[in-house]
């Protein structure tokens, strides 16, 4: 199987889907002539031309709305945000228009659109440029929220997102663009709404997604050396959440830690933990623990920024907690 970087897997997904369906187009800032701020759209403008790969002015609200309007009459836009931080400028379009249109119109207008782009604390970008907005978007009925962690999933989930008839928030991670992995050729589709058990284990369930998968796997590996068998699940889709896979695992391990780069309060982990409690409280041998970003704006200083993130050390500590284990 070919080895591709996450960035190139995304590129391949877009190229294949644009090849397959003329209604698919890519729009955003610097996506065409500049080949993308993060080079995800490298070569697409050369290949597909200005009709289908469209540079916009810096008008996130405007071009998001253009995407939604075009989707109302049959096109299937991919709207790139240079980073998801900038989607805040377009949030009215995404939440009021894309998420509600089908409902408000009594089912007459669906919005097959993908909003995609980078996100996360990627190194000294400070408070305005490091946002992770999945908790906000996952809150809203009508949206689908997808966050791939691997190159293979980046391709397979993006292809599924483009084929979805509903608005999909597809949040990439800036630090994953260079991560390499095996990526199936051709029509590789990863279903939306399905989590992936990336490491099997029997003592504790670790739920995570996006970049945190890397540190979570490292923590699991470290504890394996100490005789702890951790199951690691990549959630992949945050809305709708794959509760079946989650419950199946926690019913087996009876312990759970949730790891994310989000803020803790009203975050993804808080919502997921509550859903587990509601379903199988009696099966738990310990309270669910969460490893999240620290509850502060994101600092510029590199050391402070790193201290925000779920490190292997922090993850291991919480796993030990739920196992009532002394480190």
């Amino acid at each position: 199987m070919p080895i591709l970087a996450y960035r190139d897997a995304l590129n391949q997904a877009m190229a294949e889907e644009m090849e397959r369906d003329d209604n698919v187009y890519l729009m955003g800032e610097e996506v065409a002539e500049y080949n993308g701020a993060y080079k995800v759209s490298q070569g697409l403008w050369d290949r597909f031309g200005s009709r289908r790969v469209i540079d916009t002015p810096i008008s996130e609200g405007g071009f998001s709305g253009i995407g939604i309007g075009s989707a109302m009459v049959g096109l299937r836009p991919i709207i790139e945000f240079m980073t998801f931080s900038f989607s805040l400028v377009a949030i009215d379009q995404i939440l009021n228009n894309a998420a509600n249109m089908r409902y408000m119109s009594g089912g007459q207008f669906s919005i097959p659109i993908v909003f995609r782009g980078s996100s996360g604390m990627a190194g000294c970008l400070a408070a305005t440029h490091s946002h992770r907005l999945e908790a906000i978007y996952s809150h809203f009925p009508g949206l689908t929220v997808v966050m791939p962690a691997t190159a293979a999933d980046a391709k397979g989930l993006l292809k599924s997102a483009i084929r979805s008839d509903d608005p999909v928030i597809f949040i990439e991670h800036e630090n994953l663009y260079g991560e390499k992995g095996e990526v199936p050729e051709g029509d590789h589709l990863v279903p939306i709404g399905k989590a992936n058990v990336v490491r099997e284990g029997s003592d504790v369930t670790l739920l995570t997604y996006s970049r945190s998968i890397l540190n979570t796997l490292a923590a699991a590996e470290q504890l394996a050396g100490e005789g702890v068998s951790a199951e690691v699940i990549d959630l992949r889709t945050l809305r709708p959440l794959d509760m079946d896979t989650i419950l199946k695992s926690v019913l087996k391990t009876h312990r759970c830690v949730i790891i994310e780069e989000n803020w803790p309060y009203c975050g993804i982990g808080a919502g997921v933990a509550d859903r587990i409690y509601q379903e199988i409280f009696d099966e738990l041998d310990a309270p669910i623990r969460r490893v999240t970003a620290k509850d502060a704006p994101i600092p510029y200083n590199r050391k402070l920024e790193l201290s925000m993130l779920p490190t292997v050390e922090r993850i291991v500590a919480k796993i030990n907690d739920v196992l009532y284990r002394k480190a």
Binding site: Y25, R51, T56, P57, S59, G61, G62, F63, S64, G65, I66, G67, I68, G69, S70, A71, M72, V73, G74, L75, D92, Q93, N96, N97, M101, R102, Y103, M104, S105, G106, G107, Q108, F109, S110, P112, P141, G142, T144, S164, D165, D166, I192, R239, P240, L241, R275, Q278
Partner: protein, 338 residues
């Protein structure tokens, strides 16, 4: 920079002219009855009536082809009816019934009718202007010659969405028509308290490289003429047009507005130029209608609206199971429920 249209010219035939009169009467009657139902608490929420602005919608939509698109803000009953929506599903929507044009989930501010290219009523001021631009983008992308006609109020011009959308439409020569219904007020704020310039064609035309027209929208025929020019330009691939339609709303901003900000004298003066009366008189002068055909028309419309009310009243409410329908195309399960 605007071109002002003043002299009325005959630009429609008798058949169409009478249809337009009928549509304007239908809208007026529909709104009057909606007001009554609102006062009787049959209609909830915000309900914005179109009285006084009928010619804005009728004269412009009247020039569209069946395969064109239109989209508007929350003051949307008139546009829907002018596009030929049956008053029954329109009234049923106001009453929140499942037979409503949006299945009872949109209400007064969110009328939709896909089969007529009516892309909604939208209630976030200015938010639908990029949508219209996207529809025009899609028309061009697909290589068709349909246009998208986009209505909004004078208040909406102050939103960033307006400027972002018009900039891209002008740059990309999209087949859109941006049509501000300037009733000189947004809610309770007079135009001079919301806009640095009072001639809105200055804000919407030249800055975005499109022609702008200002038109007396009490005159349905002038509206039609200007709209036709914009349509011709859009179909020819020459790009968008900005139209400023000068109008007046005869009722409050919404049904809950006591209208303390204007006087009865202002209103009486405006009503001297009621677009329906003006059009009626012109058609009488042209000998295209007479008193008896007018009386008959009014009676038919009264019956039509009463039938719509009856239909709406007798229609079922959406059931509890409808809460979760039409959220997504993919099968939808609520993330949590009791």
């Amino acid at each position: 920079m605007s071109q002002v249209q003043t002299a009325p010219r005959t630009i429609v035939d008798r058949h169409k002219a009478v249809i337009w009169l009928r549509q304007m009467h239908l809208i007026r009657r529909f709104e009057e009855r909606a007001a009554f139902l609102y006062q009787n608490q049959k209609i909830g929420g915000f309900c914005h009536l179109y009285n006084g602005q009928e010619a804005c919608a009728v004269g412009s939509i009247g020039m569209l082809r069946d395969d064109d698109y239109l989209i508007t803000a929350y003051r949307d009953h008139g546009h829907a009816l002018a596009r030929g929506m049956d008053p029954k599903p329109a009234m049923a929507e106001l009453l929140g019934k499942s037979t409503g044009c949006s299945g009872g989930k949109g209400g007064s501010m969110h009328f939709f009718q896909a089969e007529k290219g009516f892309l909604g009523g939208h209630a976030i001021v200015g938010s639908h202007i990029p949508l219209a631009t996207g529809v025009a983008f899609a028309n061009k992308y697909k290589g068709g010659d349909q246009v998208c006609l986009c209505y909004f109020g004078d208040g909406a011009i102050n939103q960033g969405s307006f400027h972002e959308a018009l900039n891209m439409a002008g740059m990309w020569k999209l087949p859109a028509i941006y049509y501000v219904e300037n009733n000189m007020i947004s809610m309770g704020t007079q135009l001079e308290r919301s806009s640095a310039v009072l001639d809105l064609t200055v804000r919407g035309g030249e800055p975005y490289h499109m022609p702008a027209y200002r038109v007396d929208a009490n005159d349905v025929e002038q509206v039609a003429e200007v709209t036709q020019r914009a349509i011709t330009r859009a179909r020819a691939g020459e790009g968008p047009t900005f139209i400023e339609a000068i109008t007046y709303r005869f009722r409050g901003h919404s049904m809950s507005d006591p209208q303390k900000y204007r006087t009865k004298e202002d209103m009486d003066k405006a009503k001297l130029r009621d677009p329906i009366t003006l059009w009626e008189n012109r058609l009488l002068q042209r000998g295209w209608i007479d008193e008896s055909s007018l009386e008959q028309m009014r009676e038919e419309i009264r019956d039509q609206v009463e039938a719509a009310i009856e239909f709406a009243e007798n229609s079922p409410e959406p059931g509890p199971e409808d809460l979760y329908t039409n959220i997504t195309v993919a099968p939808y399960t609520p993330q949590e429920s009791d």
